[in-house]
Symmetry: C2
Subunit: 170 residues, 2 copies
DNA sequence: GTCTACATGTAACTCGTTACATGATTAA
DNA sequence: TTAATCATGTAACGAGTTACATGTAGAC
């Protein structure tokens, strides 16, 4: 359950509302974590119930109130201990590779060709998106964040060259 | 829900029991799909209820009966239509990258160093495991399957070189 | 007049994980 | 005698998705 920690981490950078968090995930953290709005609100509720976040409500005219959250001391300690704990092994679940693995039963090679073309377009689009996220890398935290983006980029690049290899191998 | 289709795909290659499927996922499909035993049994039940699988029970002496499943016509058609349908976009959830992204708040650089070392060991081990799965690539279906393995290998390799880059960048 | 941004959430469902439960055979 | 392999599953929980529900302000 890393969404908890991703939220703590983002709120450590800057106090925010659920709405702001959703935008931040979509805009600047999308290369390593996808978060659903409904799950963000739910998780904010439980983090607050555990005393890891403080909420304060800011009234606005002609707009819904902002419910802004910030880390408590306990939240900050929880984030630290997570950072120092070993990262769990991720288990692969790649629906695209699953299709390729089983595509041999379709004798028509166009089945694979279509999958490959769709994939190439999708990956290319993602690559463009990530390249637009380029951020400064002067301070240490900035360099770390930039390197996670670099991670996404190198994986997408290698995926594209693997797609070329796949087409040649057929 | 691709586990359904991964199971249909594997049973198309060869009729099997839940137990056999678990071994097959762990031994030969682990580079693209991780499957849990309890979920395999549950999914076999629902696929059979939908008429996509036939079960036949083989009695054994001094061992539990084998419940062997094979594709029905409907199951075979379902697998085909999945192969031809566009693959959904995968949403990233990388707990390791999340740690790196937020690790800047720990001023001690050893926090990152330890994460990197653990990661390098883990990725290296996975790479060795995948390299041992090397399979024939003479027929068309074999070549496709071999290429999915190749996909796992190139991603692990690029991850290792990114780890080097990360250490240098700090 | 239509779309986007702002801002909140709940309910129901599906998918995946962990823990529980059983028991014989064979190889080291 | 201990561990691995064979073989079945259920119950409860946790994580993630989809659909539902509401309303204003400002830009084009």
């Amino acid at each position: 359950m890393s969404l908890r920690y991703a939220i703590l981490g983002l709120l450590d950078l800057k106090p925010m509302t659920g709405y702001d968090l959703k935008k931040t995930f979509d805009n600047t953290a999308r290369h390593f974590w996808a978060a659903d709005r409904s799950q963000i609100y739910r998780t904010l509720g439980s983090l607050q119930a555990e005393g890891l976040l403080d909420e304060h409500i800011i009234a606005q005219r002609s707009r819904p109130d902002r419910h802004e959250y910030r880390l408590t001391e306990a939240g900050s300690a929880e984030l630290d201990s997570w950072l120092r704990s070993p990262a769990p092994v991720e288990l692969p679940r790649e629906a695209f590779l699953a299709r390729i693995y089983f595509a041999g039963r379709a004798e028509d090679p166009r089945v694979v060709q279509r999958l490959v073309e769709e994939r190439r377009a999708l990956i290319g689009k993602r690559l463009d998106e990530l390249r637009e996220l380029e951020a400064p890398r002067t301070t240490y935290p900035e360099r770390l964040r930039a390197m996670t983006l670099r991670n996404g980029i190198v994986h997408l690049e290698v995926e594209l060259s693997w797609l070329d290899e796949l087409e040649e191998a057929l």
